[in-house]
Amino acid sequence: MSGGAAKQHRPAWDWPFLLLLFVIGSTYVGLIVALLVADASFTTPGHLLAALRSKEIRFAVWLSLLSCTITAILSLLVAVPLGYLLSRWDALTEPALVVVPDGWRWLPRWGLLATKKLVDALLDVPIVLPPLVVGLSLLILFQTWPAARIEWLSGHRMGVILARGVIPFSSGLIVVALTRSILGSKPMAGWWAMLAFVLWWCVHLLFGMTPPGRVYESWLQTRFATPITYAVPSVILAQFSVSAAFAVRTMRVAFDQITPRCEQVALTLGCTRSQAFWWVVLPQAWRGVVTAATLAWARALGEFGPVLVFSGATRLRTEVLPTTVFLELSIGNLNGAVAVSLLMVAAALVVLLIVRVFGLGRAG
């Protein structure tokens, strides 16, 4: 073999090293499996069925899955822009410095750097804070005037907010996408899209003044109006407060790993920053997006402390799976608690596997 080394080198099969990797790796995997097996041995299919038959637990499963998915999407909507901003902080802020005279640029540059460090540190707060404290902080926040006002609006003006704000805005984004895809790269396409967006919004505002518009608004009001504290929105908010921090961290790392070269090339070829972001960076960060979403989703599923304090544990209202585990445990129903935990693990494994296979499979 050594004679033909110059032509083709076959690495030696370093079995002790591989064995070491396997042994060390399997201790942790083994621990996880052992935990699950211990749980499974503590419960019986009967307990699992009993848990699934309970209306309260079915509600908790339903609310958990729904709220976690909403939380994951919301976390992504925040994490992608924030992660990108933090990752390309210098490149994104540098052009703004041209307005400052040459000798003085160090001052805003220093300020920007400090801001970045501060934001970076703040983003760790939800991660390091004890979960109960996050919940307590949310609860206290919603006693203050601005947040209490938002809560009041959510309970009393939801119809108007949805009909004249949220719905025209989000559907307007679709209108923009449609306009742009129809016009393609024709000149002024961006301006036409914006015009369509504004017109779309105006149509909604005008519709709100007509009698059918009012009926529509009051229907939205009765259907979607909700308090925040101790209600479903508080569950999502509590989960979001913690999950988003993890998603932002993940997205930031994802963007950091993408070399800025491609973007810079795109910029030199005439792309604007936003075009470079949508065409070049985001498709490359697809893996990061999927990872951030799954991490946020998983984190939200297990979130318990803030939910307990901020949303309470009202059956059929704000009870999510970890709350069920807590409730069952606190009345000494260990079997029920373990059954629900296994249910949670199973749900999480299924969802995470699906996302990994389909999400990463395509991008990979």
């Binding site: 609860l139 919603f142 984004l173 070829l269 445990l329 606190s330 260990l334």
Partner: protein, 512 residues
């Protein structure tokens, strides 16, 4: 490779599509949330749900009782569970803006702490719990006494004395029995709640731990070991009305339901709690109150406020105490509460009532017309010829009895009695007759004169026995003993005290 111009819009669509798809998914999930498939049966319109913060350990009995109550009353009960201290913290932070009506902590230490912090009002006792030593089912370590634990250095989990009453109560009992120091050496872990201790025992992480007797019934896999050191110790479970509630009446009604011996108590006893002493359930109980007439002005406002807050009816019968006693003796169906004008009349029927509380005192005075035209200064002056004098009837009212005693003490009975034109069962009647001018003077309570100060003058009688004390007592075997207890607390409250003073009474009772 540079992407061709044609492929750009496609790229744009891909990233944008993902973004828009996530928005659409978000919207549809929120819509799904709004159309709750698991919605509870809608409560009848116009009723507000009752928000109850309930210690997680009480979930089973409270959930059962709440479900029944919802059917009986049509009021939606929203139960929210948590640790007692967490819930109390939430009440403190959020009760200003979020209605919490009732608080059911796991033991009474939280009631005291909540009251000290001004968060809670009435507390209705629901059940009692006794501490027991729990071991794993089958008693694998063959533990039979505390000495076993200490001698064999077994592992014990103890509930945190600051956070859970079972920890505090057992520690106090062991300290008193001088066993704590030895026992403490066995404690390998301190847990925040009693159920955590129980769970540790079940999974075998420790050999034993103190829990409530109810815990053993509720949680499978535990066995009780009798421990002489904690016999005779117990804690009370209560339902507390949150001070900030907007619907105290509804909260109290549900609390009464939970505490009632025929509705709520069976649920608690089924789950291992010791119950007893609750009232009979009645949506609007009718409590019969016998009270001496002179007390009417001082208590009427308190009674009305109590009726309104509790959502109950107080059927008050005011009369001379002798008449009230006669009525009681004549019929089996006595009052639930007797508020007498003088201890004299309470002693006559004391066998029907529990221990009495002296609430107030009232001074006997000479009532004369404004300006005292007949120059009456002392009792003997009532003997002046031609005076028309009124006094209380010695058989019909406490005032009459006290008057006779006072006259005898003053040795003026004969002189005064020859001028007495009328003997009435109540002091108010005397005041009315004075006002109409049919009497020149009367002997009555200072409280009787309080309402007629612009027409009458009161002259103090400086004789020690010219003083009556008003006892309050609850009938033995009353169906509403707890409710009557709260009525007594209302009578003893600060506001009530002010009313008594305003009507000339002296205050005798301590604050409840």
């Amino acid at each position: 490779m540079r992407p061709s111009l044609q492929s750009r819009p496609a790229r744009l669509q891909l990233a944008w599509l993902a973004f828009l798809a996530s928005l659409i998914l978000l919207a549809s999930l929120v819509t799904l949330l709004a159309f709750k498939p698991f919605a509870q049966d809608a409560p009848p319109p116009g009723t507000r749900p009752l928000v109850v913060f309930c210690a997680a350990g009480l979930r089973k009995p409270v959930e059962e009782a709440a479900r029944e109550y919802q059917i009986v009353s049509g009021v939606e009960v929203q139960l929210q569970y948590g640790g007692s201290d967490t819930l109390l913290g939430q009440i403190e932070v959020a009760s200003r803006t979020h209605a919490v009506d009732l608080y059911l902590p796991a033991d009474d230490s939280y009631v005291h702490s909540g009251r000290d912090r001004g968060l809670l009002d009435e507390a209705l006792p629901l059940a009692a719990m006794k501490p027991v030593l729990a071991v794993k089912k089958g008693n694998p370590k063959r533990i039979t006494s505390l000495d076993d634990l200490i001698g064999r250095k077994l592992r014990v989990a103890q509930a945190n004395p600051q956070a859970a009453a079972v920890g505090k109560i057992t520690r106090d009992a062991l300290v008193a029995g001088k066993r704590w120091d030895a026992f403490e050496k066995c404690i390998v872990v301190t847990k925040p709640t009693v159920n955590d201790v129980a769970n540790d025992v079940i999974v075998g992480a420790v050999d034993a731990g103190f829990v409530w007797d109810a815990t053993v019934v509720q949680i499978e896999g535990l066995k009780v070991v009798r421990v002489a050191e904690v016999e005779g110790v117990s804690a009370t479970l209560s339902a507390c009305v949150v001070r900030a509630t907007a619907q105290p009446t509804a909260a109290l009604r549900f609390a009464r339901y939970l505490a009632s011996r025929d509705q709520g108590a069976p649920h608690f006893s089924r789950h291992g709690f010791t119950t007893g002493g609750g009232d009979r359930w009645e949506p609007t109980p009718d409590v019969k109150v016998f009270a001496g007439s002179m007390l009417k002005p001082a208590v009427e406002e308190t009674f009305t406020a109590f009726e309104e807050r509790e959502g109950v009816t107080l059927t008050r019968i005011y009369n001379g105490c002798g008449i009230l006693v006669a009525q009681m003796k004549a019929s089996k169906d006595g009052p639930d509460v007797y508020f007498a004008c003088d201890t004299e009349f309470m002693t006559q029927v004391q066998d029907r009532f529990g221990p009495s509380t002296i609430v107030s005192g009232n001074q006997l005075v000479l009532l004369v017309k404004k300006g005292n035209p007949h120059q009456i200064r002392r009792l003997k002056d009532l003997g002046k010829p031609g005076l028309r004098v009124g006094i209380g009837h010695e058989k019909q009212c406490a005032m009459g009895v006290v008057t006779q005693k006072t006259l005898a003490e003053d040795r003026s009975t004969e002189m005064v009695m020859k001028n007495v034109k009328v003997q009435t069962p109540t002091g108010d009647m005397l005041v009315n007759q004075m006002r109409t001018g049919s009497l020149d003077a009367a002997i009555a309570y200072v409280s009787n004169a309080a309402g007629a100060a612009d027409e009458l003058d009161a002259i103090a009688i400086d004789i020690p026995c010219a003083f009556a004390e008003q006892p309050f007592a609850i009938a033995k075997g009353s169906d509403f003993e707890q409710l009557c207890g709260r009525l007594r607390d209302a009578v003893l409250s600060r506001e009530s005290q002010d009313r008594f003073r305003a009507y000339g009474f002296t205050w005798k009772a301590k604050q409840p």
